[in-house]
Subunit: 256 residues, 4 copies
Amino acid sequence: LYVDRIKEGDIVILMDDEGRKLRVRAEKVTKKVKGLGVANLGKLLEASFGDRVTVAAKEFTVLRPSIVDSIETMERRAQIIVPKDAAYILLHCDIGSGSLVVEAGSGSGALTTVLAWAVAPNGKVVSYDNREEHQAVARRNIERAGLSGLVEWKMGDLTEGIVETGVDAFVLDIGNPWDGVDTAAKALRKGGHLATFSPTANQVETTVKAMRERGFVGIQASELIHREMVVIDGGIRPSFDMRGHSGYICIARWLG
Amino acid sequence: LYVDRIKEGDIVILMDDEGRKLRVRAEKVTKKVKGLGVANLGKLLEASFGDRVTVAAKEFTVLRPSIVDSIETMERRAQIIVPKDAAYILLHCDIGSGSLVVEAGSGSGALTTVLAWAVAPNGKVVSYDNREEHQAVARRNIERAGLSGLVEWKMGDLTEGIVETGVDAFVLDIGNPWDGVDTAAKALRKGGHLATFSPTANQVETTVKAMRERGFVGIQASELIHREMVVIDGGIRPSFDMRGHSGYICIARWLG
Amino acid sequence: LYVDRIKEGDIVILMDDEGRKLRVRAEKVTKKVKGLGVANLGKLLEASFGDRVTVAAKEFTVLRPSIVDSIETMERRAQIIVPKDAAYILLHCDIGSGSLVVEAGSGSGALTTVLAWAVAPNGKVVSYDNREEHQAVARRNIERAGLSGLVEWKMGDLTEGIVETGVDAFVLDIGNPWDGVDTAAKALRKGGHLATFSPTANQVETTVKAMRERGFVGIQASELIHREMVVIDGGIRPSFDMRGHSGYICIARWLG
Amino acid sequence: LYVDRIKEGDIVILMDDEGRKLRVRAEKVTKKVKGLGVANLGKLLEASFGDRVTVAAKEFTVLRPSIVDSIETMERRAQIIVPKDAAYILLHCDIGSGSLVVEAGSGSGALTTVLAWAVAPNGKVVSYDNREEHQAVARRNIERAGLSGLVEWKMGDLTEGIVETGVDAFVLDIGNPWDGVDTAAKALRKGGHLATFSPTANQVETTVKAMRERGFVGIQASELIHREMVVIDGGIRPSFDMRGHSGYICIARWLG
């Protein structure tokens, strides 16, 4: 899986010794790189993953992007899903190698990236959005993450019904997830999972009611609060800096 | 992936209409089943996954176990890892299809189960423990989850060094994770990840210091607080019932 | 303030050496005491606060009830306010010695107890409720806490308007706090504070909107999550046991 | 209590219509006021509390400072205690009108301010610090809050023993609270309370052990996590902005 030599066009992570990350494309050019200034990236082509290289007079380790690297260095429109929430959805929806997953909307492709990574190498993610400019960003991000072969893009409003059936997991990251609950019920296989992600309590309430009404079981609405702990001189304590909220996750199961 | 017919020996989940789960083995016997009383399980062999069956005068849907089903219905010694924490470790350690993972200890096999599920179908989990009776429970649980082919069991104290190299991720769920940090550094490939899981703040402090000293980068100690939201007549609120703590997770990266 | 001798009729706390509390009335009787069995309480009359006494063959320290003792040993109907929330309301509403406070409803008198304690010795709490049986419990609890002189009880629906004016703080612990916002605005002095306490997010939303519409300023909706830390052999960690939620607090200020 | 006319020298809060606060001294001068530019403050002397006044071309309501106003507009050195934590300490230590309280250190006087406010009009706070420059700031803040008559300042290291006895509550907001536990035990009356406030988990661990060893009972270590809820178009959710941590509070009781 982990081939050594860096090839022309590879997306690589340059990590400095404090763990800070830059994402660049390995190519024979000298160009302006955000966070680096003007840099000659051609020398990356003489390196292997794991090597130390000096770019723009600074030392880095060159890494093949991990899934979290890909998300953290992604081109983004508005807010993207946080890894903790994406991870929770994956596990609770049983999304693994070989799964068939439908998601809406494509957003900036952050969740798409995680889903595609999880279903590799044989599964598939079908990603719906009704705004072309959003899906364009998502496509670019998926391409850079090297996951294009795992995603099928569809324009359109998923709440009006879709052609997919036998779906293992259905993920709704749209403003009105309740409107997608019926579509999900029709597309999911027996035992398949539905997940929604929404910032407000009201959205969760409406979604849970729609799930109940449509006959989903095992419905659970949750929030994951992420707290960093810092080790300072003399001890350990929670960080003073904290993101107060990302969103609520609803998980439900379809018994058909 | 999802073959329909239930075969002799299959582990299945019987889910009732409220989403409660029982795990049983499909076999031609009448026996006492925890939570059901005396039940004839032979009729499961005439069903397919997704079917409704009546067992011990109660109706169920028969499901192929999801990864969360497997963990929730697992035979356990002491506390096992909670899905939210396992999911966080998977994603932040970039553990996916094909990964080579080393873990210690085997515990009851809950984390092993999640790791094996994540690396399927081509990866491998090497699970170390120095207590035979623990690993015996873990082995049974992995066998029931149908993941035996993905796990290699080793008896011994991982803190004394191991033979594995080029490891993608190293997971320490032992009381003294700091003692495994050097072993992890030697076994990990460049760019590989180390995760530890510990209940006390003191363990985190010692672990983070050991990681710093050994040269790991991108060290982050975190806690995930899981909060359930309940939809009641008249509104939505956080649940009054809550698990106050599971443990802290430390993630670090090895640049070699 | 802290007179030594225990007098007939005094409510006292018997605290054992682990800090567990019993509330009894000091009187020359032998009676069944919850948590003690049959006990002769007459000997309390020969003791002073702070003394060690043996009651029902067990040793206790006799204490004058603190405000938290009073709440924790209170007769209760349904859920009562938690000290952390009561304390937050006191400080953020500037409720101190001499304040004039209006509250609704009386509930079991837990919040009334804290308010009366805070305005002592010269302030006043006016407590409204429209259910006689609730207010009867509240009155008994306030009497036992020795705070009767500080509370005026009123039967009636505060949302229909009240006679009080120049009120320093207004506290609504009712199911429909938004319906009391106009009454509060009319009763509060300039610079006075309004606090509400509600379990659901929907109640908070409606309340905040009503406050905004009526012209309150400095509106802040908050939740206080209380987490206990436990010191065990080998370290410190958050408690596994935790109450997930008590309620949300809204604070606002009236500029007239 | 709430006299109307503003007098020369009064500290007043100018609150704008969004609830933002400025603290100024009412005096016949034109001077630079932080947040206002050059302003003529003399016109405040013609107003009463609750009046609308125009200062530096902006409209304000003039308020007598609440306890939270005093803390929020305080001159500060380093971090000061957060109102939620101060309120929790007050209630759990039974600090009310008439209490005798000892605190160390004086810090910037934020906690001193809350304690003095709570014991008014007849109680007393004795505030120890061993750094003159800290206590000077605390004194100025207490003077501005109009609470000077309730506080006695002492220079010195409280951990070496103090002269006070019969103390109702003892509050330690110093880096090494465990070193004050013995002094507290000697000074407290039977049934009196000890509170400590510390940012790290290690400090809590050492403090709890010192309290246990010295014979305190009812020891409880806690953290209060404050979460703001925001009402936006379309719903309510926790705020994205959040302070991750202030500190841990330990409460214990002395039975003598």
